[in-house]
Every structure is written in C-alpha cells, then in structure tokens.
C-alpha cells in the first residue's frame, strides 16, 4: 500500500496539515481560546485537511489539470493582467456567487443548489473559525448584557446580548440548517421524479450526500429545539448524533461528491483561459475553413495528449486534432466512403 502513495501529494498534505495545526495554535493563542467541547470536530477537520490537500495535489499532477493550472496563473500575471483579472471577477460573480449555469440546467434545481450552497458556506464560515479557536465570545467585564467578539485573540466588536444582531449570529447555524434543508428537499424531489436522473443516479454518488446534509441540518436544528422546547433533556443524544454526522461529512469530503466544492474554482481558471484564447490567434479547421477554438487550446491539447500517450499525428505531419469536431466527423465519413468505394460496393 505504501508504494501506491504519491510522495509529492504526501508532502503537500503533511505541510498543509502542519500549517493548519500551527494556525490553530497561533489563532487560538496557544489554545487559550480553544473550546475543548469541539475536539472531535477538530480531528475531523485535520483529517479533511490532509485528505483534501493529498487529493488536490494528485489531481493537479494529472497532465491536463497541470496544464490548465499553470496556464491560468501565467495568464493572470501576463501583460493583460487587468483584462484577465476582470474576467476572473466576472466569472466569480456570475458562476460562483450567482450560479447562473446551474439555474440554466433547471430553475428548481438552481434554486435548490443555491439554498444548499448558501447554507453550507454560512455553516463553514461559522464552524471552522469556532472549531479552530480563531473566534470566541466573552462577556464584557463589569456587566452581563454586552458580548464581545474576539478574532485571533483580538477584540473585534461588541454587541448587546439581547439585541437583533446577537439573535442573528447566535442562530447563524440554525439559519444555515434551514437553508440546507429547503435545498435538500427540492433536490430530493428532483431525484425521486426525474426519469433521466433515476436511470443514472447512484446511492453513494447522489443520494448519500443529500441524506448526509439533511442529517447534519436536522440534528443541528435539534440541538436548538432541544434546549428551547425540551429543557435540554435530549442534549447528549442530539449533540452526539450531530457530531457524528458532521465528522462523517469531514472525513468523506476528500473522497466523495463534496470534493466538487474544492474542485469547482478551476472553472475560474478556465474562464480566464477562454478569454485569453478568444483574444489570441484562432485555430481554423482545414475541413470547414472556420475558426473553432483558440490556437492555444489546440496546441495545448496536442501537448497534453502526447503526455497521456496518444499520438494523433497524421501521415503528412499535421494532426487529427487540427480538425474541428465537424471536420473530424467528415474525415471519418470520407474514409468510410473511400473504403466502401475501394471494395466495389457501397452497401453490404
């Protein structure tokens, strides 16, 4: 098993994990602000950090991914940094924040994903800093009605304990849970009714992520409901089941469908790559005589396919990849016609 480990990824993951642990020590002022009740979550986070960094590193080492990664940074810091930077910001706003491409795949699907993603991001924003001890709250000395927020040990703000702001942030995880539950319900409905999805969906790939998010949200809300309406009688049960579901999420993050959260930013690099391609020389198909993609793209693909062990070099020295998709289909049809003609019969 050890021989299958990727040494670069192992090193990257180890360094990333050490950096996280160091940032926890520094950010929590040598664990002075660390909440011991959150230790199980911390171990889940550390495992997730190692797993995600390992997989990300392995993923980056694949030739097509590496090519895009390097090109993306090259283009961002090229002579047209402003143009490419603007493209990056635009893509971030439209594709990431607005999630327009998901809404275009289906209105309800888009709304469901937006609710789920919004809830998850809100929950990440609260949970990780709390678990790492980067933020903590305390009563202002000399009173019992004002709370202080400390970030990395520095006081950043204070607010009345019974005001609307306190209500808003103390319930942040509850708002997140409500958003996630609403999104999950919409997407579960789709998975139960869409014939195409029913044919190709898998339990571990499509259902388990939804059920896990639902379990995390319901048990999380359960903690609040328990102390509000049940005098905390089920606290231990709710707290333990919630911890189990969250830790399952963290442990599974590097392996399953949730990894797309980490992978998706690559789309920003692609947006920059496409913009640079549009502004640069174009590849013209020898069959159609029309431009079909950027020359940078076809050149990169020729390079990447060679690295992957494919060689589409034709007899005359050109490449099959110089043809547009339509040109390739025509080349195949012409070759087939020629073979039939040579045999003396078009049909057989």
């Amino acid at each position: 098993m050890l021989s299958t480990l990727n040494p670069v990824a192992l090193l990257t993951a180890t360094l990333a994990t050490l950096a996280l642990v160091a940032s926890i020590f520094v950010g929590s002022r040598n664990l002075a602000n660390f909440d011991a009740a959150l230790v199980p979550y911390l171990f889940g986070c550390i495992f997730a950090c190692f797993g995600v960094a390992y997989r990300y590193s392995v993923w980056l080492q694949r030739p097509p991914t590496w090519r895009y990664f390097v090109r993306g940074w090259q283009l961002l810091f090229s002579g047209r940094a402003l143009v490419h930077g603007w493209e990056l910001i635009k893509s971030f706003a439209v594709d990431f924040v607005g999630q327009r491409f998901i809404r275009n795949r289906g209105r309800v699907r888009g709304i469901g994903h937006m609710l789920m993603a919004g809830g998850c991001i809100l929950a990440f924003g609260v949970t990780f800093p709390l678990v790492f001890g980067w933020i903590h709250f305390g009563l202002r000395p000399g009173g019992i009605d004002t709370y202080e927020l400390y970030t990395f040990g520095f006081k950043t703000m204070e607010f009345p304990l019974h005001g609307w702001f306190a209500e808003l942030i103390f319930n942040a995880l509850n708002w997140a849970a409500i958003l996630v539950i609403a999104g999950v319900v919409l997407l579960i409905r789709r998975r139960l009714t869409h014939a195409g999805q029913i044919a190709i969906q898998t339990f571990e790939g499509d259902w388990l992520p939804l059920l896990l998010l639902l379990a995390i949200s319901v048990t999380g809300l359960g903690i609040t409901l328990d102390y509000r309406f049940m005098r905390g009688e089920a606290h231990q049960f709710m707290a333990i089941t919630h911890a189990i579901t969250v830790i399952l999420f963290l442990v599974w993050l590097p392996f399953g469908k949730f990894y797309h959260i980490i992978q998706r930013p690559a789309q920003l690099g692609v947006a920059v790559y496409r913009r640079a391609g549009t502004d640069g020389p174009q590849a013209v198909c020898p069959h159609t005589g029309e431009p079909f993609t950027s020359k940078m793209h076809t050149d990169d693909l020729k390079h990447v396919t060679k690295q992957l062990g494919f060689d589409y070099t034709l007899a005359g020295g050109s490449s099959h990849l110089d043809l547009s998709p339509q040109g390739k289909r025509a080349a195949l049809a012409k070759a087939h016609l020629a073979a039939r003609q040579e045999s003396g019969a078009f049909f057989g």
């Binding site: 993923w59 694949r62 097509p64 991914t65 090519r67 895009y68 594709d95 491409f101 998901i102 275009n104 795949r105 289906g106 014939a195 195409g196 999805q197 029913i198 044919a199 190709i200 898998t202 469908k257 797309h260 992978q263 789309q267 692609v270 790559y273 079909f292 993609t293 076809t298 693909l301 396919t305 992957l308 494919f310 060689d311 589409y312 070099t313 034709l314 007899a315 490449s319 099959h320 990849l321 043809l323 547009s324 998709p325 339509q326 390739k328 289909r329 025509a330 195949l332 049809a333 012409k334 070759a335 087939h336 016609l337 073979a339 039939r340 040579e342 045999s343 019969a345 078009f346 057989g348």
Partner: protein, 189 residues
C-alpha cells in the same frame, strides 16, 4: 445504475453510408431524459458543395477514451460495460478539452449550462435491457443495435469493425462500424 439489466450480447453497429439524413435519430435522441431533451447525435452533410452525402455519428465509446483522459476535472468515466458516460454535472468545468480531443468529434459543449454532454448509449434504456432510441427509429439501418449473429444475417457482405487508425493513433471502440467484408480497421488519415 447498480441494479442494471444491461445486455452484454447486444452491440451497436453504425453504417454511415446508409444514412439518408432524415434526422429521425436526432429527434429520438432528444426524447432521452438523461440528455434533458438535447440531441446528442450528429447528422452532418459531409461536404455540402460537392455531394448530398450525409453522415451520422454517435459516441463510439472508446476502450481507452481520449475524452476522459484529457478531462482536467475527472468528469468522464467508463463503466464496467464499456459505456463512456457523459460528464458528471458536479465535476465538469466546461473547458471543452473533450470536445476538441475526441477523435470522432462527438462531445458537445452546452454554453448556457457550462457543461459537456455526449451520447451515453441511452443508458436509461440500455440499462433496462432496451435499445438506444436512435437505433429503434433509424429507417435505413445506418444505426442498428442487436446481436452480432443477427447483424451477420442482415449484412452478409459486411464486417463489423471496432478498430480505427487516426494517423499514428490506434483507437478501439465498443461501437462497431460496418466495413466491407474482410476489413479489420478503418484508417482515417
């Protein structure tokens, strides 16, 4: 997907010379719910200025799919039946590497949804033991799905071939192309 009735004795046979350009396959393909009503099949005029010849192209489901290898997001997978599936919606980053690298010119990139889509051999039907939509409606036999024995009976003077040569690159596929009897591969150069 795990509870499948995929019939492994059934194969796909394609004969572009028989294509009459009726587009019935395209219409049928759009019925497939896994595509979201977008046809994944290509019907082209091969060279509009000189001939009325049309040609049809489905995904050939390569044994070593270039589209999957060049995908930077690991979005394309090949299953245990040899079906190369369309890009996973959560993974695809719409780079179009697969569109440009596929030697058969098959994958389509849908701009509005930022997604690559391609024929998945009508997995909703074939996994339930049925034929792909396009093969059920093709009136001229350009697209046919069934057993190899039956195909031999129907086309005694043709040989199904699943070996293509694109310049230096040899490509083997799950889908067959009907070639003159005795042929072993189709050379595209």
């Amino acid at each position: 997907m795990t509870d499948t009735q995929f019939k492994q004795d059934q194969e796909f046979f394609m004969d572009p010379q028989r294509c009459i350009g009726c587009h019935a396959c395209e219409m049928a393909c759009a019925e497939c719910e896994t595509n979201g009503q977008i046809p994944m099949i290509h019907v082209d005029y091969v060279d509009r200025y000189t001939t009325v010849q049309t040609s049809v192209q489905v995904c050939m489901h390569c044994e070593d799919p270039t589209c999957a290898k060049v995908c930077p997001a690991d979005a394309i997978t090949r299953d245990e039946f040899g079906v190369v599936h369309t890009a996973k919606t959560d993974r695809c980053i719409a780079c179009a590497n697969c569109v440009m690298a596929c030697p058969f010119g098959v994958p389509k990139k849908i701009e509005t949804t930022q997604l690559m889509m391609k024929c998945n051999l009508c997995y909703d039907r074939t996994s339930a033991g049925r034929k792909p939509m396009c093969a059920t409606v093709c009136p001229s036999g350009a697209l046919w799905y069934g057993t190899r024995e039956k195909m031999r009976e129907l086309r005694p003077n043709s040989t199904p071939v699943n070996h293509f040569q694109f310049g230096m690159q040899s490509v083997k596929t799950k889908v067959n192309i009907m070639m003159p009897k005795g042929a072993t591969k189709l050379v595209v150069d």
